[in-house]
Amino acid sequence: MKVDCDIHPGVPSVKVLLPYMDQYWADAFVQRGMDGFDMASYPPGAPISCRPDWRLERAKPGTSLAQVQAQALDAFGVRFAICNPLYGGQVAVSETMAAALCSAVNDWIAAEWLDADPRLRASIVVPVQNPQLAAEEIERKAGDRRFVQVLLPSGAEMLYGKSYYWPIFAAAEKHGLPVGIHAGLMYRHAPTSNGWPSFFLHDYVAGSQVFEDQLLSMVSEGLFVKFPGLRIVLLESGVTWLPGFIWRAIKTWRGVRAEVPWVKRSPAAYIREHVRLTMQPFDAPADAGIVSQILEEIGSDEMLLFATDFPHWQFEGDQAVPPGFSPSLLRKIMVDNPLATYPRLQESIA
């Protein structure tokens, strides 16, 4: 019953999406000659974007269903895997083009991936650039129970706690869909809070700070008070920054909590209740003692979700989980926690 909570099927080119667009957009992409909507956060040739033994010959990472079935589903023996497509619609500057690309990706993944393998599930990708259109897209796809989550990029135009984004969270909560936030930026802002880095190294490492900012925004703006049923899943965040971050958030909240009186409990309480994190990458040395200390500091065994992050290059061989996890904890992160986080997985095995 193992669940892989983060795999990345690739969109080979905009051509495969054209049948899922209305006439205007199907013509527009062809007439304007536009393609290559891969996210700048994951350049197809960058090492992180694909493990060497998972690279396809003359095709972009993750674009072959047969390969995903063999190397992601069969190889790890998973009962379910959640597809999180990372594609330009989620970050495009034009709201309407973003909406066209996102809805095409959702229909394409349903028809060409979910229909093809009963182990596959998917996230609904949405044009977060326009929260109203994003909420409409959630409404449009939520009836298909194989969509188990709503997917947002980690960096957008504003911080996600802002009321501007509430229509998206309201729609997700209404349909019992967790909101997954995946590493990847719109690049409306520099990826660090102090300007543009020069190298990919800096860009990727700094990614965990963006997660911290989003989490603080959601807690302090009262998102979990406004939407008590909401679940947030941080995808590809690195995980181990969490203990120090929680400690700092609690410490500061104690002194200035009157500024945000709707935050009635400590930030740690909201985070432990509402936030889940996928396990690849897990930024820690392969040392069981250190790993178990980190888990103790996180203070909950309900928060972690198994993931391979296929085809991103996070680990070698089949070592998708670092050493230091007891058999009972492994069961929690691979089975119990995913089923509790994604009610739609639970219902499909009931």
């Binding site: 406004k226 909590r257 709707w262």
Partner: protein, 137 residues
């Protein structure tokens, strides 16, 4: 434990506070609308002078963006790191069950009773016409 006469009621009008040393301990006495409370003047966090903090209201909300002020004058904010304490109970706002400012029980006694003893009058003369704040330390 012993009982100490620390002030005449009239010396500490409602809304005021007074810091004193009793048995070598710094203790702050507060008058909240006629009811008296004694707190150790040492914050349970890192020992800040609680008595020097801002006395304020309880700020609460049921939804994001709302600010409700109740119990004006009953919450004190430690001047060091801003932790809030309920003057009536000593409980911290952040972890009321685990973190508390130490409280000392206070009673009001008539001068006529006090002159009989066995109270310890710190530095103030006691007269039969007045009521006094008595703290147990």
């Amino acid at each position: 434990m012993s009982k100490h006469i620390v002030a005449a009621v009239t010396d500490l009008p409602p809304g005021s506070r007074k810091l004193m040393t009793i048995k070598g301990r710094p203790i702050a006495v507060f008058n909240l609308g006629g009811a008296f409370f004694g707190l150790l003047n040492r914050c349970p966090h890192q020992g800040g002078d609680l008595c020097a903090g801002l006395v304020t209201a309880a700020v609460t909300a049921d939804r994001p963006g709302e600010y409700r002020m109740t119990r004006q004058g009953e919450i004190i904010r430690c001047p060091w790191h801003g932790w809030e304490f309920d003057i009536r109970t000593g409980q911290s706002w952040c972890e009321p069950d685990r973190i508390q400012a130490k409280q000392y029980p206070i009673e009001i006694a008539a001068g006529t009773d006090l002159v009989k003893g066995p109270y310890i009058a710190e530095t103030i003369p006691v007269s039969v016409e007045h009521n006094y704040i008595v703290i147990e330390v």
